[in-house]
């Protein structure tokens, strides 16, 4: 069997492993438009602040490709798919035929139009290794940095740049940082944390105009405020990279729609990772779940199905583990619907815990400063465990003893 | 002052020897003296003795009491006692040879006697038990008197000295017996008391023994529960009593009695067939006090025959040989070969496995 995988990151590589396991004699070709081989996208902020060396960015070495007999094509973009002839056309004209195709093209930055934005050399996005390298090369200590977007990418960029530049301002249009994964209280804690690290942030504001000749020199904000800017990072958000999927003609709804085997609307074309639409098992909605673990998980399922071993994807749910300036933040599922959910929370100077509960099951949580055993909360969400069966309160430090004896025996011995 | 047997327990090493003819053909004491003399080095001159069976055919219905007296008064008291309990048919000195090497001889007297009918009936005891009690009574109550032989048609002859000299002293070349046993003694300390020499006898039991049993006090306290008095504190004495208890009183056959004294190990018993296992388990349980432990070789004589026995671990030498109707037993092989150059069969007696020869025509000679 010939497999072609578009995308050389979490979902793509995870699929490779499963394909290889289930179909050892297969041929796999991976196509990536990146110049680097696989690297861990979430690590680009760590690379920026020199916490991770370049070599450690690559989480699978060359041997991985050799061992798995994978042909890796880098710096070459898949530009078209002929799903009838089962062929993929690359930017350089190469044509690859496939028996099964996986689209794992991930996300691309979403850059909203801003007045005055051209190809200024000091405007950056922050999603790829290349972005990180370029920022690293450009940034100097005394530069004034403005980051548009107080979400995950923006704050990670701020954290990475904080090591280099002393004047950083984050602009967030909504009323709180990390708006999609935190409530106001959580956001305030993060705000304090980044502020104490010397990063400024403005809420309810954003760049409305870029000023400067050849490069950005200052920004006019929505509020009318004008702030100087030597380095602008556009980190408003990402969207699924569905360009190729569109060419192939698969059904889309923002992201690629798949069935539970992660096959797209076109036979033998599968999709996995950030470019897809996933079922959120908590609220039952289909949405983009741009999460590393979900990408790996989907890649695995897609890989198995492609190799002929039926495997079901039952959906996932949003979850994040992030550390900001040394503060550990864990969030999952529903975190900001206080009116529709029963809320249990506790906040102290050291930590913040919040649980959203519905129908005796946990729908989401925020843990700031208390990462311990977050995985158990996650399992409660995933397994829809009836909270009334737990021995002890959710707000107590959770552990294996919260489960009934039968449950914990299962957990200990059930591996 | 050195204490004699009965006042203290004296460990001793020894030589033993025995010859028997199964048909009851009698022969003189020359061979047994030759045999025991060969093992001269195994004794130290502090005790020697013999037992002879079938020597008194003319008085075979009478108890033959051989008695040592230290003094006349002892003899008088004893004879008074004997006259009270027995009808004495014949009494007299046991004939001896004058020998410079045998010193300090006591008065040695012999009586052929039958229990007085009236006193026997009054005692309500069997004749043998009656006699045993009389012997024990003399030995423990009459100072200076010691009955060293009390069987019928048999006799023990013993003295302080080397056994070959003792044999000559008692003129054993002039006696004829179908079973002879002999003993040469090597005590580690003793003033040399004639009564302490071997064989030890009770009724027609005689025993010669080489060894030192480590179970002595357990055995002693066991037999003493059944009316015995171990006044000599010797192994020979306690072993004799054990045989007497098992064979005479409990009616256990001699071979089985030997298997009680040198009981098979629990490992052996566990491996036996169920019936045998039950038997030996019960015997070991009931007769645990009769188990003899420690090194010994013994030759036990009686009117029924002879039994030779080694301890369970075979810690003492004992050789047996057969030739024709004769059985030869000795501590050393050479002591057999010196009187029977080419026996038909010769072997080392196994630990705990008795060698028995029964007289085929008991009480006939």
């Amino acid at each position: 069997m010939k497999y072609v995988i578009i995308g050389n990151s979490a979902a793509g590589l995870s699929a490779c492993e499963r394909i290889k396991t289930n179909d050892p004699s297969c041929e796999i070709t991976i196509v990536s438009e990146e110049t680097y081989s696989n690297y861990s996208r979430p690590l680009i902020s760590y690379y920026l602040k020199d916490k991770v060396s370049k070599e450690n960015m690559f989480y699978r070495d060359e041997a991985f490709y050799l061992k798995n007999n994978i042909e890796l094509i880098l710096a070459n973009k898949a530009v078209d798919v002929d799903s009838v002839a089962k062929k993929v056309v690359l930017a350089d004209g190469t044509v690859l035929s496939y028996d099964k195709l996986l689209i794992a093209t991930g996300s691309i930055p979403f850059v909203p139009p801003v007045e005055g934005m051209k190809d200024q050399p000091n405007i950056f996005t922050f999603l790829s290794m290349k972005d990180s390298e370029q920022i690293k090369a450009y940034a100097k200590k005394d530069m004034k940095v403005v980051i548009v977007g107080g979400g995950l990418i923006g704050l990670k960029a701020a954290e990475g740049l904080n090591k280099i530049c002393s004047d950083i301002t984050v602009l967030e249009l909504s009323d709180r940082l990390l708006a999609t994964i935190l409530d106001k209280k959580g956001s305030d804690i993060i705000g304090n944390q980044i502020a104490s690290a010397g990063v400024k942030y403005l809420l309810g504001d954003t760049a409305s105009k870029i000023q400067g000749k050849d490069k950005v020199e200052s920004l006019v904000l929505k509020s009318g405020k004008i702030i100087p800017c030597d380095l602008l990072v556009m980190a408003v958000g990402v969207r699924p990279n569905v360009e190729l999927a569109q060419k192939a003609g698969v059904t889309l709804n923002r992201g690629i729609i798949t069935n539970e085997y992660l096959e797209t609307s076109i036979k033998d074309i599968f999709a996995a990772g950030d470019c897809t639409v996933s079922l959120d098992v908590i609220d039952g909605n289909h949405k983009i779940l741009a999460l590393w673990p979900n990408a790996v998980f989907q890649g695995k399922i897609a890989g198995e199905n492609m190799a002929g071993k039926p495997s079901l994807y039952n959906g996932n749910f949003p979850m994040n583990a992030i550390d900001f300036f040394g503060l550990q933040v864990m969030t999952c599922g529903v975190v900001n619907s206080d009116d529709d959910y029963e809320i249990k929370k506790v906040e102290t100077e050291q930590f913040y815990k919040k649980f959203s509960i519905k129908d005796d099951t946990l729908a989401g949580y925020i843990l700031i400063g208390v990462p311990e055993r977050a995985g158990i909360y996650n399992s409660l969400v995933r397994d829809k465990t009836k909270l009334s069966t737990l021995q002890g309160d959710l707000l107590d430090p959770i552990g294996i003893m919260h489960f009934t004896q039968e449950e914990r025996t299962k957990k200990i011995y059930g591996v | 002052m050195l204490k004699k047997e009965g006042e203290i327990r004296i460990p001793a090493g020894c030589a033993i020897s025995g010859i028997m003819n199964r048909k009851g053909i009698r022969f003189s004491g020359v061979d047994i003296i030759t045999s025991i003399a060969l093992m001269h080095d195994r004794s130290n001159g502090l005790g020697g003795g013999f037992a002879a069976y079938g020597i008194y055919p003319s008085h075979k219905e009478f108890y033959a009491f051989h008695i040592f007296y230290d003094a006349k008064e002892s003899k008088e008291k004893t004879e008074e006692f004997l006259n009270e309990h027995y009808d004495i048919d014949l009494a007299g000195k046991i004939p001896t040879r004058k020998m410079s090497i045998i010193k300090d001889a006591p008065i040695i007297w012999r009586y052929f006697a039958k229990p007085k009918e009236s006193t026997l009936i009054e005692s309500a005891l069997p004749e043998d038990e009656y006699t045993a009690r009389c012997v024990i009574s003399i030995n423990s109550n009459i100072k200076g008197a010691y009955v060293f032989s009390s069987g019928k048609n048999m006799g023990a002859f013993k003295a302080v000295g080397y056994p070959e000299d003792v044999g000559e002293f008692y003129r054993l070349d002039e006696y004829k017996a179908h079973l002879w046993t002999a003993h040469g003694r090597f005590p580690t300390n003793t003033p040399g008391w004639w009564g302490g020499a071997h064989p030890f006898t009770l009724l027609d039991w005689s025993i010669v023994h080489n060894g030192e049993i480590s179970s002595y006090d357990a055995n002693r306290r066991y037999v003493e529960m059944y009316g015995y008095q171990c006044s000599l504190q010797t192994d020979t004495e306690v072993i004799t009593y054990l045989f007497d208890l098992l064979v005479r009183k409990h009616k256990i056959n001699l071979e089985l009695a030997a298997r009680i004294l040198t009981a098979p190990s629990w490992d052996e018993i566990d491996a036996m067939d169920p019936e045998k296992k039950e038997l030996f388990t019960n015997l070991r349980r009931i007769y645990s006090g009769a188990l003899i432990n420690g090194p010994f070789s013994i030759i036990l004589g009686s009117n029924k025959g002879v039994l030779a026995l080694n301890d369970r671990l075979k810690l003492r030498a004992l050789v047996a040989a057969t030739d024709g109707d004769n059985l030869y037993l000795a501590s050393e092989e050479a002591a057999i070969k010196v009187i029977c150059r080419n026996p038909e069969k010769i072997w080392y007696v196994e630990g705990g496995k008795p060698v028995v020869m029964n007289l085929e025509v008991p009480d006939k000679c």
Binding site: P293, G399, Y413 | -
Partner: protein, 146 residues
């Protein structure tokens, strides 16, 4: 593979497993030095939960398909294909705790990096098991209940 299993009814809540785990993962391998003189203070990879009435020592299950390995964004968390031992390579780990977030057993301890049981890296008997005073931890093959 052999794993560490807790026998709940025997756990005393003494937490000596934690002490010896820390020591086993210290530089000096000496209890007192590990606790008092080493920086950073070594972390225990086994945790006793509960109280004197009911307690339980818990550590990594070294899953067949470990969620932590799948979720690791750096490639630090690896499962040895031969021994089955799941280890966090400390040189690669950046302490993002995604592994912790996905571990349904709560067996990973947060810190500068993620700390977890490495079965004492192939020691015949892991330190926690060897030092449990009541044999409440056993190191045995398989997963079926004892």
């Amino acid at each position: 593979m052999k794993r560490v299993y807790a026998v709940e009814k025997l756990c005393l809540n003494c937490k000596l497993c934690e002490v010896y785990c820390k020591t086993a993962h210290s530089k000096s391998k000496n209890v007192i030095k590990a606790y008092k003189y080493e920086t950073p203070v070594p972390e225990s990879r086994i945790f006793v939960e509960g109280d004197n009435t009911a307690s339980l020592a818990f550590s990594c299950r070294h899953c067949e398909h470990p969620a932590c390995v799948e979720a690791c964004i750096t490639g630090a968390m690896v499962k040895d294909p031969e021994t089955g031992i799941v280890t966090n390579v400390k040189e690669r780990c950046i302490g993002c705790m995604t592994c912790l977030l996905v571990c349904p057993y709560g067996a990973i301890r947060p810190g500068h990096i993620a700390y977890k049981c490495d079965l004492c890296q192939g020691e015949t008997t892991p330190a926690c098991v060897a030092n449990c005073p009541n044999h409440a931890l056993v190191y045995i093959e398989g997963g079926s209940e004892k």
